[in-house]
Amino acid sequence: MGTGESFNVAVVDIGSNSLRLQISEVKDKSYKILEDYKEMLRLGDSIYTQGYFTPEVIDRIVETMKGVKKLAESKDCKGIRAVATAAFREADNLVETLIRVEDECGIQIEVISGEEEARLTYLAATANFELSNRKAVVVDIGGGSTEYTIINNGKLESSISLPLGCNRLMREFFETDPPTSAMLLKMKEHIIQTQKEVGLGRDIDMVICTGGSMNNIAVVKHNRDKVVRDSNVKYVERNFLKKFIKSLGQKSYKERVKTEGLEERRGDLILPAAIQSDLVLNETGARGFYTLYGGLRSGLTIDTINKLGIELPFQNNTENIRFSRLMEIGNKFDFDEPSAVHVRNLAKMLYDGLKDELDLDGRDWIILEAASLLRDVGKHITYTKHHKHSYYLIKHSELVGYSASEVELISNVARYHRKSPPKESHADFTGLVEEEQTKVLKLVAILRVAIALDRSHKGFIESIDVCIKENEVVITAKQTGDIAMEIRDFQLKKELLDTLLNKSVVLV
């Protein structure tokens, strides 16, 4: 596909609880979601009680698919790919339902296996998390089944589909509202026994839970914390989860749905989902789990794009999905890629030479790396105040492999990459805790010097050596052209670094 060409794809994920439509625009080997539409069909209600779709339910499916088709057509999509999972798999009148949908809507629904569900969720996870050098489990809790996928060092190791969907569990074990302690215990025991097939162990260092109910738990948690972050990825600590289960376990459906952020139609399903995820945390020893919004359907979108012969950047670079996503975002906002990468390389050399002096370590480099690559994306809005626009765009872009607080740090480092210092009136900076403010300033100090060392955007300074002396820090530049401008800009931009190091920084 040539530069600038784009087209839209539509995928539909028909689960036991909801039907979700996702329309995405594919452009230059990247995609962005244009539309995310949800209809709570709760197909599991009839499947897990009667075993088949009643005529009313089939009518509802057909009507919804008609609406979906209309929406997809309105966005000029290249056809619709619809997949159905557990509820369809188990419906006695599956064939009759599929024929009706095809006849009336012209859409062929693929009924996929639990393993295929797991593979699609794996695709979504690799697009949203950096999974190299990690062992992760992705738990996709649906209405009928739960897919457990083990990812080792970015590769799919194993997957299994278990009949532990929250709608199924709720119907099998909860005979009263609220459920009694005995019912809860019985359900827990059932989950533990069934889960054994997965082989969860302490070597797993990351738990990712997907599915509508799990996302809803994250929303409740974030509402409670007053953290407004419109992100695909959220983190839920086990401490919260335990309190949540305890509180919900004692409440009836009517009382539960009063919880801020809790979706009314999940009021009965959320408890089994929460308990199952807690048992995963218990087995793995993890202190919390990540949620991934749109897990299966994101994977479905990626798979559909792959089927059209397009491989997305992160898929051929599983070693560094985080970096690929940064480049993808940069390209979306038309950044100057060679210059951004060169400044990133200079920043890395400076960082390596100065990290001990500045007491930086751990994930500080990847924060600086993101800021050095994306600092100028705001120019896509306007050149004037572009540092402020960069802050906004970075904050609202889906960075992968960073926590919410790290995204905030990256946005702040980009915000101050020019000459203006943070002020009391800058709420986005003063909102950071003191330790984070200091970290931002240290990273800003390095970034400003790195930018100065490529002021002409010509890459004349190929590499640098940093030598720490008693009273000064000497940066030796290996140059390939006239660096008069770089020298001049270095003098103007080194002040913050001088101050933080309490030494004079010189360029030779």
């Binding site: 209309k70 008069a484 401008m485």
Partner: protein, 505 residues
């Protein structure tokens, strides 16, 4: 057009200028033109503030200007504007207050976007065939001591407007310490960086054809090159540049017969001209001999005007929408519906042409936030629209458009209750009236499929009925109309309903 005597004062970074003209029935008679070289920007660009000593010196100059105003009995018919030399000084408020107190002259700071806009209007009225230039692609530059303000127009759109910190005096200050022999190289590199900034802002593939200068620095070049027509050729600028690029200031001053202040900024000025010519890909730069205070005087006395302003704003807004990947078909449909509703509902909203343009702009741009993310896209649209700078378009206009985009979906009342309750009632009402219409127009193409072909509006007793003629049953449109129409009732106190009829049924 006004009759009478009108004065304009420009407090620049390297000179103070005053122009006084008398206008009688469109005819202008220039009464006075004063220039007092004074490098007020020298302090600002090196220290960040205007020293007290220079505040006093500036006061003395302006006292003399005031005497001239009194001589021509100019009481209120004047405009005194400050550019970057004052605008960027941290003690600008003190400077302005001191001048007011000591001379009675009310100074205003002119924002870069307005400065280049007024120059653009001046150029447009002064250069014949400028309308063609706007179609072909033209760069207008105001190369001053502090900033280089640029406006780029193409296909009758304003595709770029901004002031960049590359003014000649500023460059002189930045590279003052670099040895004279190689200083020109630093200027060249630095100014190329400016073109790079413009390029990243306007996007690829925007070829330009013309370069027009509207700078105070022109007088210096005119006095050296003495052109017969209002243009400089690249060859003569290159020749001048080569002859002075390594020469000491005093030698330049003596050999060219220019002032010391001029000699010290000649080199960076020439570098800027040549770099911009190379950027545009032209061998000539045209100019207007009209001074900035003269243009100011003509503009504020309303003796020149910006023909085609509305059309250009409209084109520029569409251009912005395309930059953020809008669904153009839907935008056009929403505009058509919104404009039709605005006209038909005029008996109840009593709004005018300016408000209609606001509604049109919001109809085009309300979905641009999707480019950042589809979740909360209205908030992203609000952010993107707030950052728009269209020369000549007031800030308040842009703000209202951004509020309309913010409220084009979601709960309008809660925005006012929780965030904008401090807005005066008139402003709240204006936004509610326009957003009520916008939401209806947007709902009528909710599926983005252009299902509604045309419609009539009947204002009846107790309700308004929109009778829509459709190609197919507009299910989504009906739903959205109902949902989004609630605010209409809350604003105007009358419900609005939609009847649909399938065409050819």
């Amino acid at each position: 057009m006004k009759n009478g005597v009108f004065a304009a004062i420009n407090i620049g970074a390297s000179a103070f200028r005053m122009h006084i003209s008398e206008y009688v029935e469109g005819e202008e008679r220039v009464l006075e033109y004063l220039i007092k070289p004074f490098r007020l920007g020298k302090d600002t660009f090196s220290k960040g503030y205007i020293s007290l000593e220079n505040v006093y010196l500036a006061t003395e100059i302006l006292k003399k200007f005031k005497e001239k105003l009194d001589e021509y009995n100019v009481k209120k018919n004047y405009k005194a504007v400050c550019t970057s030399g004052v605008r960027e000084a941290v003690n600008r408020a003190f400077f302005i207050d001191h001048i007011r107190h000591e001379t009675g002259i009310e100074l205003e700071i002119i924002e870069p976007a307005n400065e280049i806009y007024i120059k653009y209007v001046g150029v447009k009225n002064d250069i014949e065939d400028f309308g063609e230039y706007e179609k072909d692609g033209v760069l207008i530059a105001n190369i001053s001591s502090g900033n280089v303000a640029l406006a780029v127009l193409k296909d009758e759109q304003n595709i770029y407007s901004g002031a960049l910190p590359y003014g000649s005096l500023r460059l002189r200050r930045i590279f003052g310490e670099i040895p004279r022999i190689s200083r020109y190289k630093a200027y060249e590199q630095y100014v190329k960086k400016m073109c790079y900034s413009v390029d990243t802002s306007i996007g690829k593939g925007n070829q330009l054809k013309h370069f027009v200068s509207a700078c105070s620095s022109l007088n210096m070049l005119i006095s050296i090159l003495k052109p017969k027509k209002n243009l400089f050729r690249k060859a003569e600028l290159v020749q001048l540049y080569e002859s002075i690029k390594q020469v000491p200031r005093d030698n330049i001053m003596n050999s060219l017969g220019i002032r010391k202040e001029e000699a010290s900024v000649l080199l960076p000025t020439l570098v800027t001209y040549l770099t911009l010519m190379e950027y545009v890909g032209t061998n000539t730069v045209e100019f207007t001999r009209q001074s900035f205070p003269h243009t100011l005087s003509l503009y504020y006395a309303k003796n020149i005007r910006d023909k085609g302003f509305v059309g250009r704003v409209r084109n520029t807004i569409y251009g912005l929408g395309r930059r953020f990947n809008m669904d153009e078909k839907h935008a056009q449909t929403t505009v058509r519906f919104a404009m039709q509703l605005f006209e038909k509902l005029s008996p109840i909203h009593s709004l005018g042409r300016r408000e209609k343009l606001m509604l049109e702009a919001a109809s085009i741009l309300s979905d641009v936030g999707n480019y950042i993310g589809s979740k909360k896209h209205n908030q992203h649209s609000y952010y993107l629209i707030q950052s728009i700078e269209i020369p000549g378009l007031e800030r308040e206009f842009v703000k209202i458009v951004s509020y309309l985009a913010l409220m084009h979906n979601g709960d309008v009342e809660s925005w006012f209750e929780n965030k904008y309750n401090y807005f005066p009632m008139e402003k709240q009402l204006l936004i509610k009236k326009l957003v009520s219409i916008l939401r209806i127009a947007d709902a009528m193409d909710a599926s983005h499929m252009n299902l509604i072909d045309d419609f009539d509006v009947d204002i009846l007793h107790g309700k308004i009925v929109v009778s829509a003629k459709c190609k197919k049953t507009p299910f989504l449109e009906k739903l959205a109309f109902e949902e989004k129409g609630q605010i209409f009732m809350d604003t105007f106190g009358i419900p609005i309903e939609m009847d649909t009829r399938i065409l050819y049924d």
